[in-house]
């Protein structure tokens, strides 16, 4: 990993990717999330992905990408803790595999920088017709969240968990805020992004020097005034909430969210990885072996930890009548881990699983990007090998100390209308 500062708040990170058949360039704009601009920043990528100044037509752009052997352009928007991150990425096969002998890499960079820095804007506004079409699509995205029941349950639980906190700002914005967005306002949102956001560029398998030159050229044309990204924070402990929502489904869903009340120090993250592994992150974990296999309560009962939010999430699909039983089973397993012995075998099993996952990071382009972007957001800059060394040192006491930090805040249950979960 080679990382250098290009301009204030602008960094370029070059990651080794010689063995891959594709190259990837990714430009991330990072800025503090705001409720008032959430919907604009959800809509902006949808509009920008349609085309850019040199190729404004959506279908022509799709054809251009297909001709480049199915190169993939992505413009995405998401929340990372309290920050909004807009990601512009381009991935495609390397020149060595161009069946027509084309210079693909140059085309990829031209398209990516064209989309990110030369959008299709006329008279200080995006195209109004394109905006109206994409507003409809965004409305559909927001309205269709009930289609995927598992994701819907987790999102509903998160809404209760975060309340009005910035970290809970919706990735896709808010239905009521869609209509008022004008083409001019959306362009202002774009300008605000390129002028104030911290910029992280990741280059994998492409010529980093050429990318750097292009980046400097583009940013020098912009009157930048960097706004520092917001510091992540965890939600404080409050009275636990238990919510039941009726939804006509074949299977019930349960999501339980816990807070650590403080953001872990980077040096504790490896201990937390171990704790999550023992609890529910592996097929030998307590949740898998006891809740799924021994009690046959569910097909999945997964746990994950968000360091940037200090949040543990456990979610499961369960027969409606067993929702309450599942919650009790999960809490019992967590309690046993806090109070009873965690065997050396369990600990070593999880360590081996984590070593394997860490070593595998470098075998896959998306996982390399995810890893290093995560490290950049944490300001940690560790390699998977360094984290392996930390994991080797984690003890039973460390795991218990991590699990002790969790306090249940929200239990959200989706159940059919005929009854089911009976708790308040």
């Amino acid at each position: 990993m080679q990382r250098e500062q290009i301009l204030p708040g602008v960094y370029l990170t070059s990651l080794p990717a010689d063995k891959f058949k594709r190259s990837r360039i990714s430009i991330n704009f990072i800025m503090p999330g705001k409720r008032s601009t959430a919907t604009s920043y959800a809509l902006l990528p949808m509009v920008m992905e349609r085309g850019y100044e040199a190729c404004p037509d959506m279908t022509q752009l799709s054809i251009k990408l297909a001709q480049l052997y199915g190169a993939s352009l992505g413009v995405d928007s998401g929340m990372q803790g309290p920050n909004r991150v807009l990601n512009f990425s381009m991935v495609g096969i390397k020149d060595d595999f161009a069946f027509g002998g084309e210079a693909l890499s140059k085309e990829y960079a031209d398209i990516l920088f064209g989309v990110a820095f030369h959008p299709d804007v006329k008279n200080g506004a995006f195209d109004s017709e394109a905006i109206e079409i994409e507003k409809d699509k965004l409305r559909e995205v927001l309205e269709s969240e009930i289609n995927e029941k598992r994701i819907y349950c987790v999102r509903q639980a998160r809404r209760k968990f975060f309340g009005d906190d910035e970290s809970g700002i919706e990735r896709y914005g808010y239905l009521d805020d869609i209509d008022p967005i004008t083409p001019q306002q959306l362009y202002q949102a774009y300008l605000n992004m390129v002028q104030t956001a911290a910029v992280e560029v990741l280059v994998m398998g492409a010529d980093a020097q050429s990318v750097k030159t292009l980046l400097v050229q583009q940013l020098q044309k912009i009157d930048r005034c960097l706004l520092q990204p917001a510091q992540p924070h965890a939600m404080p402990v409050t009275a636990p909430q238990s919510c039941v929502e009726p939804l006509p489904t074949e299977q019930g869903k349960v999501c339980m969210l816990f807070t650590t009340a403080e953001i872990l120090k980077n040096e504790d993250l490896s201990k937390m990885r171990m704790a999550i592994g023992v609890l529910g992150g592996t097929p030998t974990s307590r949740l898998f072996t006891n809740v799924r296999e021994k009690q046959s309560l569910c097909y999945y009962c997964a746990s994950s930890y968000s360091h940037i939010n200090g949040m543990l999430s456990i979610d499961s699909g369960v027969e409606h009548k067993n929702a309450e039983k599942l919650q009790q089973a999960v809490l019992a397993e967590l309690d046993k881990l806090k109070t009873e012995e965690i065997t050396q075998k369990e600990i070593e099993d999880v360590k081996r699983t984590l070593y394997n996952s860490l070593d595998a990071v470098e075998d896959n382009l998306p996982s390399i990007e995810n890893w290093y972007m995560g490290e950049i957001m944490r300001g940690s800059f560790k390699t998977p090998q360094q984290v392996k060394q930390e994991i080797a040192m984690v003890s039973e006491g460390d795991i218990r100390a991590m699990l002790d930090k969790f306090t249940l805040q929200v239990t959200y249950t989706l159940t059919n209308t005929k009854g089911g979960a009976a708790h308040a």
Binding site: G70, E145, E250, T284, A360
Partner: protein, 422 residues
């Protein structure tokens, strides 16, 4: 086509393939620049195999046996499951069942020999009891219910129900809560005897490993040859569709519409599969005028797509996605199919889609998971991944226009609408 690129592809798809004395096919792609290894131990047996004869005895299976077997294989006689064994090596293990195959997989960066030993051991030594079968019925029951809430899944099987009278592809891969209740240990053992025999299986491995390492592991496993005489029955399926239309209701935000076409099965025909794949892109891919019209008029979202499915006894297309106006989408889609059949495929669009598919093939050569998976899948179809790329290079516009003369026949089509539950 020039062909430094093709040579590079040839080099990237190079692998060793050895058929052992016991009948097992071993495929190894050495990728020393990678840290990990991905291994697949698969059998050419999936959910559509529902009737067979084993050593003179006929068996009829309830829906979901292949998938049920996949779950149960992880349990060993000593009560320890395979996941517990893999925990000692750190490998990330899993399995999956499709319509035409069942595969047991692991990915690992360390203790590779030990993980291969586990893989080859537990899949070769089945152990089932009445109690363990009953326990699994609860877990799989929950898996089935999870899929019952997936609109995409329900769309697919409702469409197959429209298109097929008897072909087992119309039944959920995992079966139903009722069908898996009929499964017994005896039935599972019979399926193992019939389909988990070396000559019906492949071990496909890609990554930081040598051919010799894999062969040594197979030797250590001492997998005996099985002399079972197996005959698979393929159900008689009329050319006509079963039902023209199905409507369902689910907890979804807006209707989901699907248009399907029943085609004449061409199992394992590489050119047919490529042509079908290209036709889906040429009709509703995001490079097409139809996609743009439907998108701009608010009739579809980016999730609308076309797919084909090909196997023993079935070949079909499904075009499906969310829409607020199923009738209008159906009208425009059928009109575009008629136009394509009448006017033929545009040469420029053809080249564009061909390029895109070539890129997809190259993309799949960069991950050990895809390489091992594609090699195994190609083997079961009697070819290699390089054969697939070479066949794509050879396809012409004329091939597509010829196919359009018989494919996508409106008389063999059906529609499915999933409506929001009030």
């Amino acid at each position: 086509m020039p062909n430094a690129a093709l040579e590079n592809v040839k080099s990237a798809t190079w692998h060793s393939k050895i058929v052992l004395a016991n009948g097992l096919t071993v495929i190894v792609c050495e990728m020393p620049q990678y840290k990990g290894v991905h291994a697949i131990y698969g059998t050419n047996y999936g959910s559509v195999v529902r009737r067979f004869n084993l050593n003179g005895t006929d068996y009829t299976l309830p829906a979901g046996v292949a998938h049920f077997l996949e779950h149960k294989m992880f349990e060993n006689e000593d009560g320890q499951d395979a996941f517990a064994l893999y925990a000692k090596t750190g490998a990330n293990a899993n399995a999956y069942t499709s319509f035409d195959k069942t595969c047991y997989i692991f990915s690992a960066t360390d203790n590779i020999d030990e993980s291969l030993d586990i893989l080859l051991s537990f899949v070769s030594k089945p152990y089932f009891t009445k109690e363990t079968v009953e326990k699994e019925q609860g877990i799989i029951g929950q898996e089935i219910k999870m899929y019952d809430d997936s609109a995409e899944w329900r769309m697919m099987f409702a469409m197959f129900d429209c298109l097929y009278h008897t072909c087992p592809v119309k039944d959920d891969i995992a079966g139903s809560v009722e069908s898996i209740a009929e499964i017994t240990p005896q039935l599972l053992y019979a399926c193992c005897d019939a389909f988990y025999c070396p000559q019906n299986m492949v071990l496909s491995v890609a990554g930081n490993i040598t051919v010799q390492q894999v062969l040594d592991a197979v030797q250590r496993a001492e997998i005996p040859a099985k002399e079972s005489a197996v005959k698979r029955y393929v159900e008689e399926e009329p050319a006509e569709i079963h039902k023209p239309h199905i409507e369902l209701t689910m907890a979804v935000s807006q209707p989901i519409f699907g248009l399907g076409f029943k085609e004449t099965p061409m199992p394992n025909d590489i050119r047919t599969e490529i042509i079908c794949d290209m036709l889906t892109e040429l009709l509703v891919g995001d490079t097409t005028p139809l996609y743009r019209k439907l998108y701009d008029e608010g009739l579809i979202n980016p999730g609308f797509s076309g797919e084909y499915l090909s196997g023993e006894g079935y070949l079909n297309f499904i075009f499906a996605g969310e829409t607020k106006d199923p009738a209008q989408v159906e009208k425009l889609l059928r009109a575009e199919i008629t136009r394509l059949k009448t006017q033929g495929v545009d040469e420029e669009m053809f080249t564009c889609i061909k390029n895109m598919m070539l890129g997809d093939f190259v993309t799949n050569l960069e991950s050990i998971d895809d390489v091992a998976g594609d090699l195994a899948a190609a083997h079961f179809k009697g070819r290699t991944t390089y054969d697939e790329i070479a066949a794509l290079c050879d396809i012409t516009v004329q091939d597509l226009n010829n196919a359009l003369k018989t494919m996508l026949n409106p008389e063999r089509s059906a529609t499915v609408i999933i409506k929001p539950k009030a």
